[in-house]
Symmetry: C2
Subunit: 416 residues, 2 copies
């Protein structure tokens, strides 16, 4: 008997029929003797419907009122799921975030969880009840409703699992796990049975988008074993089979000793490259370039500054393609003359490809094998950026699929 | 400058366009220097949509979960109205019932308000904010969300007005006030500028359905001056004109000294009459007849038991027509033989007509004038029941309109 947290996304909760299926799955776990807490998202489409109502009233709604509005979507979900469980003979009780309470800071629409009181939930679990808690939301210390931002239900689920010291947090979603790369690009892509949370962080931020990145950070900080698995399977499939499906995000390094050095190949098509040429190499220059870009709310991804020659250097970074024009505008208006740079050049037809794996920490030669593979395919590398468990390169977008396939093969990722 | 509570029904809140109109009206009152608290209902159709989702999951949903679900409708409304006020330059803040808090008992789906904390609201009003509070709901002392039942937003508004000692509670609705009778039956029906709360109670319970009856009781108990007025007027109409429109439910008896003896003619088509014949006249007999009827959840309206003759009497009461068959069944199965009554007879083609007015307390001859008027029209009276401010008769339903028109004229109700 264990305490387990289930999280179901909006698609799984998309209709009363689907909610009944979620109830069947949850009941199966409860029947097996486990204590179950469920964190469901709003029914698919509901959050968008609510936001559309708000935008219809004013283009930039007040964040506090937006949270007041948007949080109702999950409240509807928990009540309906509780009813669905009761309709098949289970004792169930639903709570909004403020009732638990899940305490957050006051950063409306992007609040951060500060603490979760487990008393009420533990008492209910002890009485044999299934507890259902709204995802995506909490309450600040003045009693205002806050939301954690899009995808925040993943974070809620992991945080609840951490607070309850749950044995596992199961994130049911519409993919059946984390793959070595996108199966639409490489048909031989293989589902990983486990990844470390650091790998998951890199894979998520590089575009795998299986889990909200903040939930992975949370899982990492609190060492919550978190499993990503499919909600599209038969809800009455064998529990043992289900419990071992998907991909487990693990925190035990030694489980990886026998594993491949590289876990996966991530990629991102949505990159645009900007280079500020002839930048004087002096303290504070990076801030003077990127400060105005950040102030314009433009997210920066890769950043590279090379060794200077004759007191001048070139400063390159990438931004989402949709922000390229805005970023160029900011740089030309507020930065170039101010810092005494030469010209500014850019390219929107670039993609990023990364090899990710905790294994590379203890293995030399990963970078050289990556570069050799790309070279053999005739692919020019425009930028390189590395971390302890990741090597990313920026290449011409037309070679992206080729690069991913070649690297997937070179690192033997199709083999278990 | 006064503190005023506005209440808007679901139709007034039915779309973002209409919510913007509500905001314009509220802003007009605030511009005139008043402190304004608004209690809106859920957008029309929303509560029904939520209940339908619940029924889709199980026919008899758990009341606690039903309240968790249904309360979201009003939360959506308050957030949208707050945004609409902000979009026209007003400071506004929305609260759910639990945030005020509005404390209730734990009778889910039909909770009663126990207390309202005015501290948070007063602070906001003092800062120049317009405060928007969810109708229909509160929180019990264990932190569970409760709802007050259908139409509960009227009660919320009056209760908030009582807690804040508001100068007036304005209930904006889709009728423009309380009439001497239904204008669809008597074209000369006249809008009353004021009614006493006792008259309003009788008029509401007799089918005027302008205000939820519990809200009128609340207004009476706490002496909250409550005005029913139209939400269909131009939101920018002159404030002075608007403030004097509709019907004021008043608590000052002397304002009625010059008024007509009778305030209005109420009626109810939905009546069925049941008579238990030859009932032994002994203690406890009324309870033995009506106990099983009440246990079957059948609402009883008029009850008449006449003087007994030879130790036997006839016991007559009325029920809603939809409950007639069920009531007859209960009586025949569980009551007749048990109490040693004769037969049971009934009639579903009856209507109730009542004259209502606090003035009749101090005027004799109202009953006789009523009976004479009906007699002159050849209408037979089947049952009579009286209270201090009301005389009701049961008649053949085919004479109902005739009776209402004749009484309206006989009591000069078309004249101000």
């Amino acid at each position: 008997m264990a305490l387990i947290v289930h999280k179901y996304g909006g698609t799984s909760m998309g209709s009363t029929e689907r909610i009944k299926n979620v109830a069947k799955r949850v009941a199966k776990w409860h029947d097996a003797g486990h204590q179950i807490v469920v964190v469901p998202s709003a029914m698919s489409g509901e959050t968008n419907r609510l936001i559309a109502l708000a935008k219809d009233i004013m283009p930039q709604p007040d964040p506090r009122e937006l949270d007041m509005l948007a949080s109702t979507g999950e409240q509807v979900s928990v009540a309906l799921l509780s009813m669905a469980l009761q309709s098949i003979g289970k004792q169930a009780v639903s709570y909004a975030g403020w009732q638990v309470p899940i305490k957050t800071d006051s950063a409306y629409t992007k609040a951060r969880i500060q603490s979760i009181d487990d008393q009420r939930v533990r008492r209910d679990l002890g009485e044999g009840k299934i507890v259902i808690i709204t995802g995506f939301q909490g309450v600040d210390d003045r009693g205002n409703i806050t939301t954690l931002g899009r995808g925040g239900s993943d974070t809620s689920a992991v945080a609840v699992a951490a607070a309850l010291k749950a044995q596992e947090c199961l994130i049911y979603t519409d993919v059946d796990g984390v793959y070595t790369t996108d199966p639409r690009v490489v048909t031989e892509a293989r589902r990983l049975k486990t990844v470390t949370f650091e790998e998951m962080l890199e894979l998520a931020s590089l575009g795998s988008k299986v889990l909200q990145i903040r939930s992975v950070e949370f899982a990492g900080n609190y060492k919550v074993p978190t499993r990503v698995l499919s909600s599209l399977t038969d809800p009455l499939m064998s529990l043992e089979e289900e419990a071992n499906s998907g991909t487990l995000i693990s925190f035990e390094e030694d489980t990886h000793m026998e594993q491949a050095v590289i876990s996966g190949i991530a990629f991102n098509r949505d990159e645009a490259k900007i280079t500020v040429l002839g930048v004087p190499d002096k303290p504070g220059i990076a801030y003077q370039i990127l400060g105005p870009v950040a102030d314009a709310n433009i997210e920066v991804d890769m950043i590279i500054q090379n060794q200077s020659v004759d007191g001048k250097t070139d400063f390159t970074f990438t931004v989402p393609r949709g922000e390229y024009a805005k970023a160029m505008d900011v740089l030309n208006k507020s930065v170039r003359e101010h810092i005494g740079a030469g010209s500014i050049v850019g390219d929107t037809k670039v993609s990023k490809v990364s090899v990710v794996g905790v294994g590379m920490r203890s293995h030399v030669g990963i970078a050289s094998q990556m570069f050799r593979t790309l070279s053999e395919e005739g692919i020019n590398i425009q930028m390189i950026s590395t971390s302890e468990i990741k090597i990313s390169v920026l290449i011409d977008e037309k070679y992206m699929e080729l690069a991913v396939r070649a690297l997937h093969k070179a690192f033997d990722l199709e083999k278990a």
